[in-house]
Amino acid sequence: MNHPALAEKFAKDFNRTTWHDETLWFVRQKRDRAIYPIPEFQELRLLASQIKDHTLSNLDNYLLQFEENAIKNGVKVHWAADGEEHNRIVLDIIRNASSIKGKTGPIKMVKSKSMLTEECHLNPFLQKNGVEVVDTDLGERIVQFRNEPPSHIVMPAIHLKKEDVGETFHEHLGTPKGEKDPQALTEAARQHLRQKFVEADVALTGVNFAVAETGSFVVCTNEGNADLGVNLANVHIACMGMEKLIPKVEHLSVFIRLLARSATGQPVTTYTSHFTKPADGKEMHIVIVDNGRTQQLGRSDFRNSLKCIRCGACMNTCPVYRRSGGHSYDFTVPGPIGAILSPNIDLHKYSSLPFASTLCGSCSDVCPVKIDIHVQLYKWRQVVSKENELPAAKKWGMKGLAKMLAMPKVYDLGGKVARSALRILPHGMTHAQSMNPWAKARELPDAPKQSFKEWYSKNKKS
């Protein structure tokens, strides 16, 4: 289904849409309060943008430098061209790990938040191959129980109310029916997850930043689940998109200040964990994934979408996202940034996403790395049209409109005829909802007898 259809479905529940909008607007305001007191915030954005631009322009070198240093640290580095290869590599690592080889019974994995593994559809692949996968972030665990994709990249279960979570936990964790107290529900999840952590053979994490000069990487979480998982299991697999690099450790000071403030309005995430080498007797692997990123890097108009640090601020500020929900985008990364990343992956499937915006520009204003998101939305629209993915009615309608607007006399006459028709035809016809979507919730403007041009010709022209 395309975005308008899914959005309409979401918006049909008026009160829930209000709640969703207000919940995310609350986060946006929290973010505002966190950035206003920092006089250099706009300079930080510029600096972050420049560091990322520089890194993307020299990505080949930085990737090799990162790999070299990571290997020196005793980490095994793997390269995956696409999601399928990524999944296969992860499975191979698990099956070949000395601590796991020969284990009877199911292999158990705990995962902490990784949008990349969502993108690669790792969970179903591993489960098919006999690995038990448990997402350990609270929000991720909730949507995993419900067999839903995350609806937001930072707050994956933001589309759910505490009553919904209560239902889900009642079904999967045996909490009392009707229990909706957040503390009680969280406690149930803690007890449940604690068991999973203790049993895990392997821990998988995402990567927020990978530092080329040291070969180390940083994972930012609020729940501490990444650390717990990694420290208990014998094998740590970290999966990263190839754009996660930054050249130096000192650059972290820029990004760490921006990330949590932009994401949730916190000065910093509760845990900012640095990983450099495996503990004695343990294994650490990094899987570096392309999966369309090189292709995007080759698109000069869209390259800098790869600067994204996945804070989700563009979603929280987007008036369309807030009223259509993350699932209406039907892509791993929803919202404005998803709408400029997804056409790179499948232009046909996601051709409605660049149009799921009013081009209000708020996304570009909040973006901590200054991605010109709304400009790229506009540019993707041109690509959609060029690649013949526009609906036929729109395509030919626009061609006709352009012809008319290039010929003043035709435009004048067309306007006059249209206005007359609007005046003469009965309201029920001009406002027929099946014919005129405008009229579902809005009245048309009154059609005046005289256009401005006609008035001018009569009254002013000498």
Binding site: H3, P4, A7, E8, A11, K12, T17, W25, D32, Y36, Q42, T317, P319, R323, S324, P354, F355, S357, T358, L359, C360, G361, S362, D365, V366, Q382, V384, S385, L390, K394, K395, M398, K399, L401, A402, K403, L405, A406, P408, Y411, G415, A418, R419, P437, W438, K440, A441, R442, E443, P445, D446, A447, P448, Q450, S451, F452, K453, E454, W455, Y456
Partner: protein, 246 residues
């Protein structure tokens, strides 16, 4: 200084009074204004729908129409933004460059070219200001709440000069109204909902007259006001500044 008036297509067809007030206001301020009658549209409707290639002939027509003027003043931040920002796909001849540089949104022109200090108008109403995104974020005519807590901007500065006016304090000062060109049709559900939410904010906080710099946003919002039969009058900023009363 040679000044031309550009009245956007939908204003020409549906809101002639906005055009008349713009013209009268400029004349009152001593500006000699020409109105080239072969004008049509800036080409934005097609371009925002992905068809900027089709728009090229409209761009050329626009440039041909206005190339002789130092300033092209229009009561629309959105059209101004489109000409300045998106006329980059045609040859940048001296005429194209001159037109892109010379096109001005009305309030910007009043404040920064004419340096208007006084607006001798009584307007004893509670006025809600709707900031159009293209004026606010496109042309940077008003601060954006994503960047700074201060809510200042060009239209607000002029409104505050009116005698007896009270300005509505909104809960969301600069959220998009949801018009968005063809978005208002293709994404009807979200578009309507965005507009309803904007109007609800104005209703809750006492707006009696709703104004702004872009009639396109206001057309969409007025459509909701009328459908919901609310006691709220929608006026373009040019009408208010020219002394029209609700």
């Amino acid at each position: 200084m040679k000044v031309a008036l550009f009245i956007p297509c939908y204003v020409d067809q549906f809101y002639p009074n906005v055009g008349i007030n713009t013209l009268q206001l400029l004349e009152k301020l001593g500006v000699e204004v020409a109105y080239p009658t072969q004008q049509t549209c800036c080409g934005q409707p097609m371009a925002n729908s992905g068809c900027e290639q089709d728009s090229k002939e409209v761009y050329h027509h626009f440039v041909d129409t206005f190339a002789d003027y130092d300033y092209i003043v229009t009561p629309s931040g959105s059209c101004t933004y489109h000409v300045r920002k998106h006329y980059d796909i045609i040859d940048q001849t001296p005429a194209v460059q001159k037109v892109r540089k010379g096109v001005y949104e009305l309030v910007d022109f009043l404040e920064n070219i004419l340096k208007v200090e006084e607006i001798p108008v009584d307007f004893p109403y509670k006025v809600g200001l709707h900031l159009s995104c293209h004026g606010q974020r496109g042309l940077r005519q008003a601060n954006a709440s994503e960047i700074i807590g201060d809510k200042g901007g060009q239209i607000l500065t002029l409104l505050r000069k009116l005698r007896g006016i009270e300005i509505t304090q909104l809960e969301r000062n600069d959220e998009c109204c949801g018009f968005g060109g063809s978005f208002c049709i293709t994404e009807e559900a979200v578009s309507a909902r965005m507009g309803q939410d904007r109007i609800a904010d104005h209703v809750r906080n006492g707006t009696k007259v709703l104004t702004g710099g872009d009639m396109s946003c206001l057309m969409h919002l007025e459509g909701i006001v009328k459908r919901q039969q609310l006691p709220m009058k929608v006026m373009h900023i040019a009408e208010i500044l020219n002394g029209s009363q609700p």
